[in-house]
């Protein structure tokens, strides 16, 4: 009897989440897909069911939008790789080397950057990286630069702004995974003669991959769709896809083309999900 009662209970329990997803994800996504198949001029829809916007995405202006997508993918992969490389050692030290009583305080310190506004943090980086900024002054003071050094308004500045944010996010997901690995596994490996490096490579690393995968996937998804950081720190020296989408919305309000570009971005994120899916175990967090 109890087994028969369970399905309706589960259905009721998951109903709010399902309703939320349908209302705020599925329906808007369908609306966006429908809009991407229309054409507008002077604020009026002049054609329904056309693939013109997708054609424009791939062909227009000698492939400028495709280039924007490629730039976005390059920047996002760089950010994800750098964030993992920075976050893993921090998470490892936190989980295995820092006494438990200090871990809580260090975790709070890690989360501190999230407390400030994203926009203010990006502008702050621009000031730090500018010709009159701290880095430029320090380099000149140390005799490493003859004149002012401007590091802002570049792809490197965009990557730095992203990594500052996402390395901390990844540290949290990897740390949460590392502390769930049973200490007995590592001890057993050591007792059987494995060196610390072998314990890490054959026990800790494989078991912590779900945490890395979840963090990397979140980083990828959030970074590839972000408009603010490249707009503020990149100096528009090159276009990333979210900036190209915003260009269509500004004056001309070309929502159909913007929607088509967003659908392509969505397809890229879906592809990333499929690649990460094997390792994504949210329950580990």
């Amino acid at each position: 009897m109890a087994r028969r009662a369970a399905p309706p209970l589960i259905a009721w329990a998951t109903a709010p989440a399902l309703l939320w997803t349908v209302l705020f994800f599925i329906l808007p996504l369908l609306a966006m897909a429908a809009v991407s198949l229309t054409r507008r001029e002077r604020g009026q829809t002049v054609e329904l069911w056309t693939l013109d916007n997708y054609r424009a995405f791939f062909m227009q202006g000698g492939g400028v939008f495709l280039q924007a997508l490629w730039n976005s993918v390059e920047v996002t992969l760089t950010v994800t790789a750098l964030s993992v490389l920075i976050a893993y050692p921090i998470a490892y030290v936190l989980a295995y080397r820092v006494p438990p009583r200090w871990q809580r305080m260090l975790l709070v310190l890690l989360v501190l950057p999230f407390w400030t506004s994203y926009v203010i943090r990006s502008y702050s980086w621009l000031l730090v990286l500018s010709e009159k900024g701290v880095i430029s002054i320090a380099l000149q003071g140390l005799g490493l630069a003859d004149g002012p050094v401007g590091l802002g308004n570049t792809r490197g500045a965009t990557v730095l702004g992203f990594v500052h944010f996402f390395a901390m996010l990844l540290t949290l997901t990897i740390y949460a995974n590392l502390v769930q690995i049973r200490e007995s596994y590592r001890r057993a490996a050591a007792d059987l003669g494995a060196s610390p490096a072998q314990v890490f490579v054959r026990i800790t690393l494989p078991l912590s991959l779900p945490g890395v995968a979840v963090g990397a996937f979140l980083t990828f998804v959030l970074a590839i769709g972000d408009y603010v950081t490249p707009q503020i720190l990149g100096g528009s020296k090159e276009l990333l896809l979210p900036q190209a989408i915003m260009l269509q919305v500004g004056r001309t309000a070309d929502f159909p083309l913007a929607s088509a570009m967003s659908m392509v971005l969505m397809a890229v994120v879906t592809l990333a999900y499929l690649l990460f899916a094997r390792h994504l175990r949210m329950g580990r967090l």
């Binding site: 002077r42 502008y123 500018s130 100096g235 528009s236 260009l247 500004g250 004056r251």
Partner: protein, 362 residues
């Protein structure tokens, strides 16, 4: 302690009853029409969000003004598309877009008798922009120039007066470009000897080539805060398509930040203010329009914290220092030597945006 006991004894049903009763009482205490009369909803550019501009009117008329600001007309039209008729009362919009908004039936005719047309710079009346079928749908309230802004401590004004500063290799790595494609491209075209209204599909490739030349020299391309930041932090010394709206507000902190119209001319932008046809508070909205176009409102609008620019009313109550920052004395010559903002037809607009995208991606 006493209050906690009281709360503990209230059942959820009691609390709901009390809440409902309070809501009904509040509704009955103040009739809907009377409450609605106390608010105005305005869809505007960010300069109208300044408390120094709105507060005197709010206090004088005992009204609350709800402000929604936008950056480009396309975004405003998208907001209107998703609103109900009557949601908005007052609209501030690019003068070049007044006709298309009025032709969509969104704006109400204004009473010319109530407006200080005699005080407005005569060259700015532009009936071809603000009137449709002989009726006025918006009154010009603020204007300025897409010209060249610069840091006086790094760049000679004589250089800035020459349009070729935009592609002068001497300033490689010192140039920022304001990224609103229409005025920026028109400014470059003007420097090449092409009037804004002469831009066509035929000469667009030449303009693109010149833009690509500029791209090699540019250190930053961005919106107003980005190019302002570039000038302040030393990432750039010149802003192409910048103007008083970028630097006049910063001049108190850094008097070296200045702007000037090149001798070959610049692009003159202008914004108008009108009342929505569907507004239920047209009288109050008309009072707000009169206040903003009057001497006090004009002074506050001209020096609004979001961006400074010239008031259209010659009687704006500005001080000498403020007038100097706006180059008030040079206005007759500047107006004469500038071209009104030209809005291309949809096909050319699309082609220009495509060229601009290529410029950004180069």
């Amino acid at each position: 302690m006493r209050s906690s006991i009281t709360i503990a004894r209230l059942s959820r049903r009691d609390a709901l009853r009390a809440g409902a009763a309070a809501a009904v009482a509040a509704g009955m205490g103040l009739p809907r029409a009377a409450r609605a009369q106390d608010e105005l909803n305005i869809l505007v550019w960010c300069d109208h969000t300044d408390a120094a501009l709105l507060q005197p009117f709010e206090e004088a008329h005992k009204v609350r003004i709800n402000v929604k600001d936008y950056q480009e007309t396309g975004a405003a039209l998208a907001v209107l598309e998703q609103s109900q008729p009557g949601d908005w009362d007052v609209f501030v919009v690019d003068s070049v877009d007044v006709r298309r908004v009025a032709e969509q039936g969104l704006l109400a005719p204004l009473d010319d008798v109530q407006l200080p047309w005699n005080d407005i710079f005569p060259q700015l009346h532009a009936p071809e922009l603000h009137k449709v079928g002989g009726k006025t749908y918006a009154v010009p309230e603020k204007f300025g120039y897409n010209s060249i802004a610069f840091d006086r401590s790094k760049v000679e004004e004589a250089d800035v007066r020459r349009a070729d500063i935009m592609w002068n290799p001497k300033y490689k790595g010192r140039i920022a470009v304001y990224d609103y494609y229409i005025p920026a491209m028109e400014m470059v075209a003007l420097g090449m000897g092409i009037r804004p209204d002469q831009i066509t599909g035929e000469n667009l490739p030449q303009i693109r080539d010149k833009l690509l030349e500029i791209k090699k020299l540019a250190s930053v391309i961005g919106d107003v805060p980005t190019v302002q930041n570039a000038l302040v932090t030393g990432a750039a010394d010149i802003i192409i398509a910048g103007g008083e709206f970028v630097v006049a507000g910063l001049a108190q902190e850094n008097p070296n930040l200045d702007w000037v119209l090149p001798d070959s001319g610049g692009i003159r932008w202008m914004q108008g203010i009108g009342i929505f046809e569907a507004s239920q508070k047209k009288e109050l909205a008309a009072e707000l329009v009169k206040y903003i176009i009057g001497p006090q409102g004009q002074a506050a609008l001209a020096t609004a914290s979001c961006y400074w620019a010239m008031p259209t009313n010659q009687k704006a109550a500005l001080g000498d220092a403020e007038k100097q920052r706006l180059r008030w004395a040079e206005q007759p010559a500047f107006i004469q030597n500038s071209y009104p903002y030209f809005i291309p037809d949809p096909a050319l607009d699309k082609a220009m945006l495509e060229v601009w995208t290529q410029f950004l991606q180069a």
